[in-house]
């Protein structure tokens, strides 16, 4: 179904701008690299699940410029993210923050793994017990026969 996704992304191509343009790039390479890393974690709000770093949409361009402005102004990475979140909501973060509302999301992987391991241990032990042979009742019956 990827073609569906490509089709959706194509909707972002309509505006005549494209991902990171030469006019946006900051002269300081270290600052620019930080801008790219931050951009890769921010969602383009008009596209589907695409970061503003990859997106061609006008809005994504505005956000990229905004991120660079904040960096030039001396903000830390986290301050820039917070600045964007304050204006657009947590929805723009592609990496959801750990909090009460996302605890299940972040814990899902480890919990599932633990649950699987526990199931394996329990069934393994039960099967070995079954293999070991007679229950107490059966043993009693056997003793009686002797």
């Amino acid at each position: 179904m990827r073609w569906l996704r490509v089709l959706l992304l194509a909707l972002c191509l309509v505006a005549p701008v494209a991902a990171v343009g030469p006019d946006e790039i900051l002269p300081d390479p270290a600052l620019e690299q930080r801008a790219r890393d931050i951009s890769a974690g921010l969602r383009c709000l008009v596209c589907q699940n695409q970061s503003i770093d990859d997106s061609d949409a006008e809005l994504a361009r505005d956000l990229r410029v905004l991120v660079r402005e904040r960096l030039v102004a001396g903000d830390s990475d986290e301050a820039v993210r917070q600045y964007v979140v304050d204006r657009y909501g947590e929805y723009v973060l592609l990496n959801p923050r750990l909090g009460w509302h996302t605890i299940l999301l972040w814990a899902a992987g480890p919990l599932l793994l633990l649950a699987g391991l526990a199931t394996l241990l329990v069934t393994g032990r039960r099967r070995r017990a079954a293999e070991a042979g007679l229950s107490a009742q059966e043993q009693a019956a056997l003793d009686e026969l002797r």
Binding site: M1, R2, W3, L4, R5, V6, L7, L8, L9, A10, L11, L13, V14, P16, V17, A18, A19, V20, G21, P22, D23, I25, A40, G41, R43, Q48, N49, Q50, S51, D54, G89, E90, Y91, V92, L93, L94, N95, P96, H101, T102, L104, L105, A108, G109, L112, L113, G116, L117, L120, G124, R127, E131
Partner: protein, 657 residues
């Protein structure tokens, strides 16, 4: 006329499938006669849907715009291949393709399954017919592809330009063949649950079908990934988009199923789990095809913007999946487990594989659906994107890759882990050496890169080590080793090649992520740019009309570090019918690496040009092709061949005790 014929054929399919379902479930104990009737019914369904599909293809090829679907999705100027692929480039047409593949698999079971016990064959075909009836009914009643348009327009609306690509011609049919192929596993599982009979022979029948579907799905996903890579114009190849996750989850579950069915076939263990996985895998396939379209996952831009259609899809999904799981809950306890084994054994290793793969499926499923549930329950909107999935999936796959090479070296029932480790020391040493060498040469830009490289090399060389070990290379004369290698069962080769392919894919992912370079600049014709030792000269710019578009072409000459020159052509197209633009990147392959060049929009008087060097990126897809080839090789193994009789050479005498 042929349109109505196609419409009628689809309705007839619905009727036959309904009757087959009722007859099959009602009389599955009645022996060979009902099995024969259902077999013939399955083949008839295939012929009828083929007629229906052919009718659509004919309308698209001849540009018959009195067919609403053709008028909406085709154009008379389109090249022939895209006229044909346009049939499934939309919701209604893709439903017919989906059903066509479904009945094709049903007909294959009917044709090759003559040696199956009558009751099992009847139940399998009845379940296939149930699925056919459900989805043919859905298509006929809610998404009729045969609707006419009066008066017929002179020209069609054209297929979306991004979809006018060879990728669309191949990708959906492959993907559908993979998704739908798992319906056979599903039907076998349901049949086993209804009849209450399940044994090693069952696993032997199911495994080839699983393998076949898995091959299609592997190629389909890889193809889709490569297509997005070159079509989107910036070289991304995986996005962890809900749509992608939807295709990736059945692949992971199918991979787990291949391994658990192996345990069941060889050792008669893991029966309940294998049945469960069969149901889960196809359920995830259904989710993959339909959840996206139901309009839930992506509230905008879905095919099925009609809410009633989405509701019908969800009801269907709930009935099929829920019904199967209810049956499972009701009957699974009655299945007897067999085959005891120690924790350290081939079985134990395969269970570990299943544990990690199943957990990965669960984690991806939660990540995909979580934003939706959170929004519905609390009204809070969050995004779960690539960074989350990279971390979660990576953390689950790393241990799996770490233990993977041990698996094939362990014996069934009870194994010697120290012995296996000793046989892998060589592979570990070579992997470590290669990792240190490459990290030193390439520089470490991402701290995790060496770990990724080490895992990739470890898995790849571990697969080689298995072959070396089995051929006793270096311990006996070379010629003797060669003979042993040639004499290994094809399944042993297939295991080694598939695992080697995983290593190759991992290496491709790591190297391209860690060492990709990018240059965004403005160029005028005559100017040049440099990136990673490559010199790119912008020769000339031209505006050229294509068959149904206008192209802005950038002609480039590239000089590689070795001094060779090649010309590259990147263009931007504007499609006549829709006015939509697309970018066609130019890609040149150097060894396993690629230079990726995109002509951007004009800026002032110059042209924006984006250049990427993607080191060893082709390994990503090469590895998946290796996996698919390994699957094919395993299918040709005599012991696994589709339709192989239950007992090929009479009965074995019972061994003396």
């Amino acid at each position: 006329m042929s349109i109505e014929l196609g419409h009628f054929a689809l309705i007839l399919t619905f009727a036959i499938a309904t009757i087959s379902t009722i007859g099959g479930y009602g009389f599955w104990r009645s022996g060979p006669r009902i099995a024969l009737v259902l077999s013939q019914g399955a083949i008839l369904q295939f012929i009828l849907v083929a007629v229906a599909f052919a009718a659509l293809v004919q309308a698209f090829v001849t540009s018959d715009f009195s067919l609403l679907l053709a008028a909406n999705n085709s154009h008379s100027l389109k090249p022939l291949i895209y006229k044909i692929s346009g049939v499934w480039g939309n919701h209604e047409g893709s439903m017919v393709l989906w059903i066509l593949i479904l009945v094709a698999f049903g007909a294959m079971v009917a044709a090759f399954g003559r040696r199956l016990p009558d009751d099992l064959l009847t139940l399998v075909l009845a379940t296939q017919s149930l699925l056919t009836a459900a989805f043919a009914g859905f298509t006929i009643f809610t998404s009729n592809p045969f609707a006419r348009l009066v008066p017929a327009p002179l020209e069609g609306n054209d297929l979306n330009p991004v979809l006018q690509d060879i990728g669309l011609a191949i990708h959906p049919p492959l993907l559908y063949a993979g998704y739908v192929g798992f319906s056979i596993c599903f039907s076998f599982a349901v049949a086993a649950l209804v009849s209450g009979r399940i044994d090693q022979a069952w696993a032997r029948w199911v495994r080839p079908w699983t393998m076949l579907s898995w091959i299609f799905l592997t190629l389909g996903i890889a193809m889709g990934s490569y297509w997005a890579y070159y079509e989107l114009g910036w070289g991304g190849w995986w996005f962890w988009d809900p749509v992608e996750n939807a295709s990736f989850m059945p692949w992971l579950a199918g991979t787990a199923l291949l391994h658990s069915a192996l345990v069941m076939e060889k050792r008669n263990a893991l029966k309940i789990w294998t049945i469960f996985l069969s149901i889960i895998t196809f359920s995830l396939s259904l989710l993959g095809t339909f959840l996206v379209r139901s309009g839930i996952l992506t509230s905008v831009h879905t095919f099925a913007s009609d809410p009633t259609r989405g509701l019908v899809i969800l009801t269907l999904l709930a009935l099929v999946i829920g019904g199967a799981f209810a049956l499972f809950a009701f009957r699974a306890a009655s299945l007897r487990q067999g085959g005891l084994f120690a924790p350290v054994s081939r079985e134990g290793a395969l269970i570990l594989n299943n544990l990690f793969l199943a957990t990965a499926v669960g984690a991806i499923l939660v990540g995909t659906l979580y934003p939706l549930l959170l929004d519905a329950l609390t009204g809070t909107t969050i995004s779960v994107g690539a960074p989350f999935f990279d971390l979660t999936f990576g953390a689950l796959m790393a241990p799996l890759l770490l233990v993977l090479p041990f698996g094939p070296l362990l014996a069934w029932k009870r194994a010697d882990i120290v012995g296996a480790a000793q046989r892998l020391i060589g592979a570990a040493a070579v992997a470590l050496f290669a990792t240190i060498l490459i990290s030193a040469l390439g520089g470490v830009s991402i701290s995790l890169a060496p770990i990724g490289l080490l895992l990739g090399f470890w898995v790849a060389f571990g697969a080689v080590a298995e072959l070396v070990d089995r051929s006793k290379l270096g311990r006996i004369p070379l010629r003797e080793s060669g003979r042993r290698l040639a004499g290994l069962p094809r399944t042993a080769w297939s295991t080694a090649i598939a695992h080697f392919g995983i290593g190759v894919t991992v290496l491709g992912i790591v190297s391209t992520t860690a060492w990709e370079t990018e240059l965004v600049t403005t160029l005028n014709p005559g100017e040049s740019a440099q990136l990673s030792g490559y010199t790119v000269v912008f020769d000339r710019f031209a505006q050229v009309p294509g068959p149904n578009y206008l192209a802005d072409e950038g002609h480039f000459t590239v000089t590689d570090p070795g001094g060779g020159t090649r010309s590259m052509l990147a263009d931007r197209r504007t499609y006549v019918a829709s006015g939509m633009p697309t970018t066609e990147a130019a890609i040149e392959t150097y060894g396993f690496s690629q230079l990726y060049l995109q002509l951007g929009e004009p800026l002032d008087d110059t042209h924006v040009v984006r250049i990427w060097h993607k080191p060893y990126i082709t390994l990503i897809w090469l590895g998946t092709v290796l996996m698919a080839l390994a699957g094919l090789l395993s299918l040709t193994d005599r012991r696994l061949r589709v339709g192989v009789p239950r007992r090929a050479t009479g009965t074995q005498p019972e061994p003396a005790r």
